[in-house]
Symmetry: C2
Subunit: 193 residues, 2 copies
Amino acid sequence: MPKIVDHESRRRHIADAVHRLIDARGLDSVSLREVAGEAGMSMGAVQHYVGTKEEMLRLAFQHLNTRIGLRIAALSPDDPLALLRSAILELLPLDEERRFEARIGLAFLARSVVSEDLAAMVRQGMPYVLEFYAGQFRAAQEAGQLGTEHDAEAEAVLLFAFAQGMVHPILVGHYSPQEAERALDHHVARLRA
Amino acid sequence: MPKIVDHESRRRHIADAVHRLIDARGLDSVSLREVAGEAGMSMGAVQHYVGTKEEMLRLAFQHLNTRIGLRIAALSPDDPLALLRSAILELLPLDEERRFEARIGLAFLARSVVSEDLAAMVRQGMPYVLEFYAGQFRAAQEAGQLGTEHDAEAEAVLLFAFAQGMVHPILVGHYSPQEAERALDHHVARLRA
């Protein structure tokens, strides 16, 4: 099915162009015309995939989450606690790739508080993210790595909030990557079995 | 010294106008001219206080932090743990006033990753914020409310990250105010003496 593959790769190509433009000049000012220019496509070709700015932002937001999600899905499941820790670190801007994602992610967060369309996407995605963290937490409990006295759902909420809350201070240079990892490990240490 | 009082109140008046405009149309598009219109002042009068857009944003960001800081400073110091808890809740969008502040705060966070001027302000402010939380944590330890086995500085980092990380999911309606308070209390419970 070469046609389907081509559509998916074009969507990614457009989304990557949107990401670069958001990073270069802010989310508010990115237009479909600029995206066409950045992607090296005609306006008509771009509009075949995204007809409006809201659709364009939705595609770009999905692509951002997919990028991060694919890296997390590629982590080894053999050690649930190591996977949980790595999955949290994938959200933090600890290298240039993740700094790029975090800058764009922050632009989307700011936009989502005034765009019901993006807010709905965040609300739809959150349960899956939290359930992933809770599931890994339970697996680590079953493997004897984390204490069974902890409530996996409640700890998932805290771990995800911790990760989200560290993003901005790392981005502006308040915490070094090492300090951020140390803070995470300080918290994880008390949850151990 | 009526002149000094007047200058301070005019600064606040301008900053409030900037906040309303940021909330209405996003931070990127706010101009000094619009601020003058919103504040009911002449361009010249506004430029007496803020000459450039960067200065305007700096004033508005300081004012946002001052607003929140004054509420925290007004909390009763008699119960250090209650104060620590309340100080964290002052950062969360649990009512309309704090939702307004959180929306503007998020716009500033997003901007600060591309504005070195704002990033520097964040970096300068962070040690004071973290030291305030650590100081309250130590006071609660001395009052026998929190366990002395916890490192106050490390816990302050986690508590502040937790608060920052809860802001956006509350704003978009993923967590209710009650759920957010419950998550905080779940974490605080394990730190008790």
